[in-house]
Amino acid sequence: MTMHPDDFDLDAIREEWIGKIVSRNQGRFPVEYDPIRRHCHMTGDSNPLFTDPVFAKEEGPYGEVIVPPSLLPIYFSSKGPWPKAPKPKSDGEKKKSKRPFFTLGVPTPGDRGINMGTEWEYFAPIRIGDRLRSEQAITDIFMKPIKLDNKAVWIVSEMSFINQDDTRVAVWRNTTLVHRSPKQIAADEEQFAKGSEAA
């Protein structure tokens, strides 16, 4: 669901959303070997600290395979991409958001997203078998035009990752821009033209 840019009130959106906790998740699965191996396979990374359990235990400094710094720990601190986790009964009463996931629920004129920037800090190793949870908050929302859309909205968020010992092992700061597709821009302009004619 989108809105016409004329109906987008940035000040009100910022007032409502900045500082808001938009998600708290407990990882459904422990940190596992195979997602790490697949992540490394993408880029041909054969570093045995990430891919070889025997090397990691016997020769590595951490005693176990660890998550590489490029693999976002959200993978292990959420319900997982598939299969869908069973929903608690109370979830049935909640109104399901029709916003694309990358908006984090923030209303925007567009519904197409591009990830623009990301920053991670790693404080402690994340090992096979660890159980992670996460907490994400919105930290900024602003409008900045791009070539595709002069009404693009930028959303900044911060997610903390905590292990089973309540140690904060990592933090992730992310910037996503949400823009309108060319079709939607044309439709919005047509709607604006009709409104002008009617007036």
Partner: protein, 151 residues
């Protein structure tokens, strides 16, 4: 791909100088690497695997996702940092797109070395992805902690 690495090697802070290059590596992108990107990241956003959807969104074609981009940068860092190096921070901006048909290189250079207030021996690094079509697509900065011979 880079030459065979010695993953048991330790890189010491004392042996690093500003302007030292990170050798990095290169990868040609095709439909197989596209599939590995989706498989490895579990990111099923259609903009990264469905050309019609990507064009409908106003892009020239599908482009490679954030998880893959981070993996390319991360590998250049951890290959260089050695057995006992620790990547403390990594940040990057997605300024250009990497697409099928491109050969993407992940490279870097040391920009600073210092000891922080906690006595950690740290190295600041600029790292980036580039392709021959658009140049640098993903500028990044990282901080790596290394063991010190003198510690």
């Amino acid at each position: 791909m880079s030459a065979e690495l010695d993953y048991k090697a330790v890189r010491y802070w004392d042996d690093v100088d500003v302007d030292d290059p990170l050798p990095g590596f290169s990868m040609p992108l095709d439909w197989t690497t596209m599939a590995l990107q989706v498989h490895g990241s579990q990111d099923w956003s259609r903009i990264h695997h469905d050309p019609d959807y990507a064009r409908d969104s106003g892009h020239d074609d599908i482009f490679y996702n954030t998880g893959w981009t981070a993996g390319m940068l991360g590998r250049a860092l951890t290959d260089w940092a050695g057995l006992e190096g620790w990547v403390c921070k990594l940040s990057f901006q997605m300024r250009g797109m990497n697409m099928n048909g491109d050969t993407v290189s992940s490279k870097g250079v040391v920009t600073d070395k210092y000891v922080d207030d906690d006595g950690q021996h740290l190295v600041a690094v600029d790292v980036w992805l580039e392709n021959e079509r658009v140049g640098k697509t993903t500028p990044a900065k990282a901080v790596i902690r290394l063991p010190a011979r003198t510690a």
